[in-house]
């Protein structure tokens, strides 16, 4: 397997201009002769499908939801970063680039990240033109707020619903193309395999979730914008249906999987309350602008928060990281929460929680201002917990939220399988080992609006006249493989539900491949996962049949893939004998408990090649070359 990152030559700030000036182009009259499949319609997929349609390509867009607007991007709350420097606080494209590289603990590519920072400003322009109602100052100009890991205010927001409003912008652009006939939309269709013909990605296999029919679709290129995989933990902030099947199937067809162990545990989520819990709810990072995080100084202090005096409280983030305080990056804030809970100072009935307290902010700014800023989040918290955060501090705890890892892509967002492009959270490219807040929306939209529509032409220009049809034997093979797999799940007729297996897998992953990982833990997790997977295929019970809507069957296929992905995550976490960002190996920490990187041995992207069932995957290393930024120990003190 050859991994060529294809970073353009020249100075960092000119790489993207250079690349754009040198890509091969498809003549406007020829664009309609190319078919492009886009899977997923979140921020990345919808913006890509709409933009490709605008350019004149023939697009087919597949989603498993009833409408493209349901994608989980819609749940992003806090905001989107852009280096506009509207606040005149010293922001710049370079600073956004630098913050993202540092925030990612020096495990991302310089070239990609700089391009992302450059494009951030265009995204805001585009979104405003589409009618995204970002928050404004009284003078009518756009408003900004701060997010974790940075010391400028560069985050644009639409109340606590920034993801929703940005997704609606992309969704509306997509619906416009559907009306114009450039995009054909396939709702309630789930991708179950990738079809590779002569080494190139040329189509997909999908299941119609209403009729159960399994169908093949051919195209000149395939784009996956299918999101992240932290539902492998069962309980996460992801939507219930978010899954890894599309990228995992592509991986099994030859696409390298990069840095699977880099997962983000978000520090501010509502803690679990019982066994029935189906998901965890995020409380936006923006709350850390005004909320103060604390636990009692005393172990086992179960008094009401109001009864604990100032002197008896430990504002541990402010104490440990005075220059960033409550706005320390996510990986650091999460680990710090785990640490105080491990010390027995956690709050709530489970002892796994910390306070996020707004009393000072309400005193300083008044309740009205706090309501304006976070009203809908406070309401959501109240709906779920029946506690009033205006009166008593929120209880929060870290939860799986985002996957920095994903399919390996080059600078052009193409995987190592020619013709297969991967965008948004589904790829691995821009966040290194830890993503900063308000950067996921930025990356999804940069990929979809501005990068992929340009880079894909460079590939397609060389594919003229090489169209394949679904009559090729590769399609028949993939089709029957998918049918067999569906049948196998239905025929297992075991005793346990899919969810019961998924919960068990999630708990193994959370305990052993979550916020803290060790060699022993990971080795035992691998044994447990393999045993559970074997049991799954024998003992899973999938009710219903394959010819009508069947949610149990949909889940069963996704969980089967999570088992295999979980194994790769543990293998990757075991192999990476260092701590970096969200990957914390307890064996590798500084004397004060911070992540200890090992740049001499691990300054590379781990790209794993699938070698068939029962065989160990093979590791390929893409060295990370830092020309602009000096590698340093990340400090937020």
């Amino acid at each position: 397997m050859q991994l060529d990152s294809k970073i353009p030559p020249g100075p960092l700030a000119e790489k993207w201009s250079y690349a754009k000036s040198h890509y091969k182009l498809v003549n406007p009259a020829n664009k309609r002769k190319y078919d492009i499949i886009v899977v997923g319609a979140g921020l990345a997929g919808a913006s890509a499908a709409a933009t490709l349609g605008e350019l004149g390509y023939n697009v087919k867009c597949f989603v498993y939801h009833d409408s493209p607007r349901r994608a989980h991007s819609i749940a992003a709350q806090g905001g989107i970063n852009a280096a506009k420097n509207y606040r005149n606080d010293g922001d710049s494209v370079y600073r956004l680039f630098y913050d993202t590289i540092k925030g990612g603990d020096y495990r991302a590519r310089e070239g990609n990240v700089h391009r992302l920072a450059e494009l951030s400003v265009n995204i805001i322009d585009q979104a405003v033109a589409q009618g995204v109602p970002f928050a404004r100052e009284y003078g009518g100009a756009l408003e900004n707020r701060s997010f974790g890991g940075v010391q400028v205010s560069r985050t644009f927001f639409a109340r606590g619903q920034t993801g929703q409003q940005l997704l609606l912008g992309a969704f509306q652009a997509l619906e416009r193309q559907i009306a114009l006939g450039t995009v054909k939309q396939y709702n309630r269709h789930e991708m179950l395999d990738l079809v590779v013909v002569d080494g190139h990605a040329k189509g997909i296999i999908v299941r119609n979730l209403v009729t159960g029919k399994i169908e093949a679709h051919a195209a000149d290129a395939v784009v996956l914008g299918t999101g992240g995989y932290v539902n492998v933990f069962y309980l996460s902030t992801n939507a219930k249906a978010s899954n890894a099947t599309a990228i995992w199937r592509a991986h099994k067809r030859g696409a390298a999987f990069a840095n699977p162990c880099y997962t983000q545990i978000h520090p501010t989520c509502i803690p679990q309350s019982g066994d029935y819990q189906s998901k965890l709810t995020l409380m936006s990072e923006s709350l850390r602008n005004d909320g103060r995080i604390w636990v009692p100084k005393q172990q086992g202090d179960t008094r009401k928060p109001s009864a604990i005096s100032e002197g008896e409280r430990d504002y541990y983030l402010e104490r440990k990281y005075p220059s960033f305080g409550n706005l320390a990056p996510r990986d650091i804030a999460s680990r710090a929460a785990k640490e105080v809970c491990d010390e027995g100072r956690g709050i709530g009935s489970s002892g796994r929680g910390v306070f996020l307290d707004f009393a000072d902010a309400i005193k300083r700014l008044g309740r009205k201002t706090i309501e304006e800023r976070y009203g809908n989040l406070f309401e959501m918290y109240h709906d779920i917990t029946a506690e009033d955060p205006y009166e008593q501090p929120m209880r929060i705890y870290p939860a799986p939220h985002y996957s920095m890892g994903g399919l390996w892509v080059d600078y052009n967002l193409m995987s190592n399988v020619p013709g297969l492009y991967v965008i948004g959270e589904a790829n691995f490219s821009d966040h290194g080992a830890n993503r900063l807040g308000a950067s996921a929306l930025m990356q999804g939209l940069a990929d979809g609006y501005f990068v992929l529509p340009v880079t894909i032409g460079d590939y397609l220009a060389g594919q003229f006249g090489k169209k394949v049809s679904v009559d090729r034997p590769e399609f028949a093979e993939a089709l029957s493989g998918t049918q067999d797999r569906v049948k196998r799940l239905l025929d297992a007729k075991g005793t346990r539900s899919v969810d019961s297996f998924h919960k068990e897998l999630g708990s193994i992953m959370w305990d052993k491949c979550g916020m803290a990982r060790s060699a022993d833990g990971l080795k035992s997790a691998l044994l447990q996962i393999r045993a559970l997977r074997d049991q799954y295929w024998k003992d899973v019970r999938v009710t219903g049949n394959g010819e009508e809507p069947n949610q149990a069957l949909e889940k069963a296929g996704r969980v089967a893939d999570f088992f295999e992905l979980a194994e790769l995550m543990c293998i990757d976490a075991l192999q990476r004998e260092e701590s970096a960002g969200g990957h914390f190996r307890v064996e590798y920490q500084t004397p004060d408990g911070e992540a200890q990187r090992n740049d001499d041995e691990f300054l590379y992207v781990s790209a794993w090649e699938y070698k068939g069932e029962g065989n160990e995957p093979v590791l390929h290393k893409e060295p990370l070359v830092y020309e602009e930024v000096k590698l340093a120990t990340r400090s937020y003190k």
């Binding site: 509306q172 779920i384 009710t543």
Partner: protein, 253 residues
């Protein structure tokens, strides 16, 4: 807590449906309504029966996937919440709960509580957008927007396209949904060039799928985002005004 459920079961669009009684026992009051159904479903699977199918995804009240008639009220008794954010503490031990799919001719049942809401997307396709291709935007702060205008546009833009407004309406009308999008875009300066043709095309498409509005205002009462019917007045005004403006023919799919 223990409840008695009467749930609409229907295998497919063509087949006949019926209400089936289930006991939901030993449910935590802190569980959400959908988590209560999860528990019931796990028990059904254990008995070898098919689980109750219902649409859901984010479970944070924002994706708009979920929705069911709970004792005849779209999204249940609480008001201002989607079904996923309704918690069992709002019910009493021993309650009987009727659970049905959205009731509207424009939303045929796919299975159990899942309905086909694709007619709503058709309304968006008719003009629920601002026609601006990627790359042609001007610098974002070129166009100042008064804060109250932006706030009002945002109030309308919060719609999650769940379809509760249609389900609750005695006429099965989609006025509140359509008005929310017409107002979101029509309030903003960016939306002005297409303002009047947008409202014409969206309203006419809406009329082809949905019933007519006779101002019952049931929609407003069940909207999880509490979108106001004042936007319907606004839409009607724009629709009337459009008769005096030049517009182009609608794009057809």
């Amino acid at each position: 807590m223990n409840l008695t459920l009467h749930v609409w079961r229907q295998n497919s669009r063509e087949s006949e449906g019926r209400l089936v009684e289930y006991k939901a026992e030993d449910i935590s009051p802190d569980a959400s309504f959908l988590e209560m159904l999860d528990v019931v479903n796990e028990r059904l699977i254990a008995k070898g029966e098919e689980p109750i199918h219902f649409e859901h995804d984010c479970r944070e009240g924002i994706c708009g996937s979920c929705g069911m008639m709970i004792n005849g009220i779209a999204h249940g008794p609480l008001g201002g919440t989607a079904t996923c954010q309704l918690h069992m503490r709002h019910f009493n031990d021993g309650d009987t709960v009727f659970i049905e799919p959205w009731r509207a001719r424009a939303f045929p049942v796919i299975k159990d509580l899942i309905v086909d809401r694709s007619a709503l997307d058709k309304i968006i396709q008719a003009g629920g957008f601002i026609s601006v291709n990627t790359g042609s935007a001007v610098e974002a702060n070129t166009l100042p927007i008064p804060k109250p205008v932006q706030e009002m546009a945002m109030d309308a833009a919060e719609c999650i396209q769940c379809g509760a407004c249609v389900a609750q309406c005695p006429n099965g009308a989609a006025q509140l949904f359509t008005a929310a999008k017409v107002s979101h875009l029509g309030l903003l300066p960016q939306g002005q060039p297409e303002r009047y043709e947008r409202v014409v095309h969206m309203v006419e498409t809406m009329e082809s799928f949905f019933g007519s509005c006779t101002l019952f205002r049931e929609c407003e009462g069940v909207c999880p985002k509490e979108i106001s019917t004042k936007f319907i007045e606004r839409m009607n005004k724009d629709y009337l005004a459009s008769k005096f403006k030049p517009t182009k023919e609608p794009v057809t799919t």
